[in-house]
Assembly symmetry: C2
Homo-oligomer: 201 residues x 2
Amino acid sequence: MPRRVDHDERRRHIVGALLRIAGTQGLDAVSMREVAQEAGVSLGAVQHYFASKDAMLLHALEQWLNLDVHRSFAERIRARVAREPAATPLATLRAVAAEYLPHDDATSLEARVGLSFQSRAAVTPALAAALVPAYTGFVDTLRGILRHSGRPLDADTAARELAALLDGLRHPVLIGALPYADALGIVDGHLARLLAHERRA
Amino acid sequence: MPRRVDHDERRRHIVGALLRIAGTQGLDAVSMREVAQEAGVSLGAVQHYFASKDAMLLHALEQWLNLDVHRSFAERIRARVAREPAATPLATLRAVAAEYLPHDDATSLEARVGLSFQSRAAVTPALAAALVPAYTGFVDTLRGILRHSGRPLDADTAARELAALLDGLRHPVLIGALPYADALGIVDGHLARLLAHERRA
DNA sequence: CCGTGTACAATACGAGTGTATTGCAAAAAC
DNA sequence: GTTTTTGCAATACACTCGTATTGTACACGG
């Protein structure tokens, strides 16, 4: 077998170009030629690594969820929590919210990529199938943090509620209908009410 | 001036076809020819009523927000509240949530249309500009209902929070990651906590 | 060193896109 | 009844799209 190249590395490189386009111009603007140009390779190279555009999009979503999001997002959370006086569940959740909501170019791009894929997944079962475990994983993570709060709350319901709140706050912030600080304030209020609450759920 | 036809009616007819396509196959599947065929008219007719595809999409979003959503949605809310024993703020908000979350073909289509436009608005300022007042209007409506609860809460923040929660719950329901009943239960818990709450916000 | 299979590059193809152009039937204006 | 203007239909044009095909440089196994 000739020509040793790192197959996975090339795919990550191409997918990176794809995500950059999707984050700035939307998934509609993603064509194989555009991706090739953004990645600095030929159309033939892109075709060589992905059998079809659908396969490329699916692989892009999976890589984005498993590598880009998981890694950089978790890293930013840790960095933010480290700056806090105490790594309490509340501080951690606030850090998650602060990083999840779009507040600069990188996070806005991330939010747009997520929104694009969510929109397409609504009419493309293959993408929905890849998105479901990511949603479940996010909820599990939130639930794990909530469990450490020591409060008598339904952690699973609270986690799903928080996930939905964060996701739902992204859109008005993205289109400029709600300032980032206001969105963060809403999450703060939600968390305060949730964790200070002693009554029945 | 010859040939009297109701200009607005024809536009609504064409836009209706467009929204049907967007709701079932996504906004990407919307082409002028597809819209023409779905509407049962010629491509020339569509061009006659819309100067460009962008103008058609913008008009479609505006009509959808101002006519389809406002009218049918408000109507369904009223019908649902009428079935309740008392038209309390809580009952009204539960009705809003029950109708907002996708639970049948019509509401799933509505949610997919909304999601498609949100996604495109993130990269198309003209669409974002049309979406902002719709968001504001929705928040105003929720705030108006919350004000009648007689609870000492920050109605504006609570309204924005509820709007985000509802929007964020739509997506996992759409992709089948969260059952409709569970989503509604989350809203119930949120409303109960919100309206039963006596402490500071 | 020589074949063999890999990693591309280049190009071609048919389908579909938005838009512009042209033509024409019919109804109102005169 | 002629003229004019509207409401469309048909078609053409220049692209772009995903995909298929072909060619080739080149590293490895033998």
